[in-house]
Amino acid sequence: MFEHFFMHMLPKKVSENGVRFKPTLYLGAMLVMLFMFLSVSGLLLLFYYTPERSQAFASILFLEEKVFLGSFFRSFHRMSSHIFLIVLSAHMLRVIFSGAYKVRTYSWRLGLFIFTLIIFEAYAGYLLPMDQLSWWAAKTGLELMKSLPIGGILESILAPDGIGSRLTLTRYFALHIVVIPMFLIVLVSVHMFAVRRQGLSIEGMKVSSDKLKSRLIILFVVMFMSVIILSIFIGAPLTLEADPTTPPNPAKSAWFLLWLQEIVSWRTWYINFVMLVYITMFFLPELSRRKSGFGWFSFDDRPVWISVLLMVIIILVLTIIAMFFRGADWSFGLYFS
């Protein structure tokens, strides 16, 4: 039965373009796999983690130092999440650059909701170990959120008594473990269903899905092995126990939020530009005057893909600046640590 269930996630016949590598780069399939890695390793961490502020750090320390494979599973979960965020961005870029967003507007907008939830999911997970790194990353992230128009309300729901306090840790835990994953599972299922119902945005002959199946199995093995190897060689960091009174200097947020931290370090309200771009994304299909269907970097869609490409470059540059060129008191210089 189980085998049946998983094998029937794919229909008997699929478009030949779903089998080929070039239209999708298999990025969506990779996301499904990474989502499974994250769920399973997350469930394993749940056997040891204690969501209570005086116990949380100690429970992670115990997991890291005493439990057989403890540090491996923690590292595996973290590594999967890093890769998940990168592949997620790549999936969205492939959808833009190939023009699929214009043809499959429903999936595009649903995808943006999924994307938003995933950012919150990754952010909420960051606090849980309650070490210095996570405490201050969660703090600076929350401050970022507060600079948004609805930030105040969000803050009083997410962190009513401040980062690391009883209610806040409980809420971040609940959000990370149950609330957001539950919504994600539902929305991702609808996303999968929509992709299957509407078919890929590129028309093609129907062929047997056997070839795709065997390719996906190979992809699964390769992904699984790569994440295992990476997690063995790059352990998950654990600094000292969180100390709300002594921030590390500089206090940096989670890596995927660093570019935002760099922006608000100039002027707080610049964050509104980012919000504007985010909202624009929802209307990208209407704003684009693209006529052609599927096609990588089409000539008639230059305004869209050039500005998105530019945005990607800006985000990368800002991330690099915040990561390597910001030292004590956020001063500019060369700091490789």
Binding site: L142, S147, P160, P244, R267
Partner: protein, 139 residues
């Protein structure tokens, strides 16, 4: 009458009815998510002569620093007015590790991104005791 209503209108009426039923439930659940706030009144109490002239005393848990300057004791909040990180007293100035704001010892901004001086709390002095009250001063 009912026969005259088109299908679209039926659907929009049904949606309206649904929203009307859902709204109070959502509102009440929304309220549930906001915990009652605990009013503390007095945040910090300390004997006045414990703080020397030109000196300061930090209360980490409350995020407050008491500074004595010209006989007067000022209670600054250590919460950065930019986005709320904790500033640290660094010689004569307060520095923020999150985005690099700097404040002078009187709380005024030396360097952005912060644009507002450090907040001050209301203080009360009785019998050589200084109390910091949970209420911010307008400066």
């Amino acid at each position: 009458m009912a026969g005259d209503i088109g299908e679209d209108e039926m659907i929009s009426r049904r949606n309206l009815l649904r929203s009307l039923i859902a709204a109070p439930f959502l509102f009440l659940t929304g309220k549930y998510l906001f915990p009652p706030s605990e009013a503390k009144g007095v945040l910090v109490e300390v004997e006045s002569d414990k703080i020397p002239e030109g000196g300061a005393m930090v209360f980490h848990d409350e995020n407050i620093i008491l500074v004595r300057a010209d006989e007067e004791v000022i209670a600054f909040s250590l919460e950065c007015t930019h986005l709320g990180c904790t500033v640290a007293l660094n010689g004569e100035e307060f520095a923020c590790p999150c985005h690099g704001s700097k404040f002078a010892s009187d709380g005024s901004v030396i360097q952005g991104p912060a644009t507002r001086s450090l907040d001050r709390y209301v203080t009360k002095i009785t019998n050589n005791k200084i109390q910091v009250i949970e209420s911010k001063k307008d400066v």
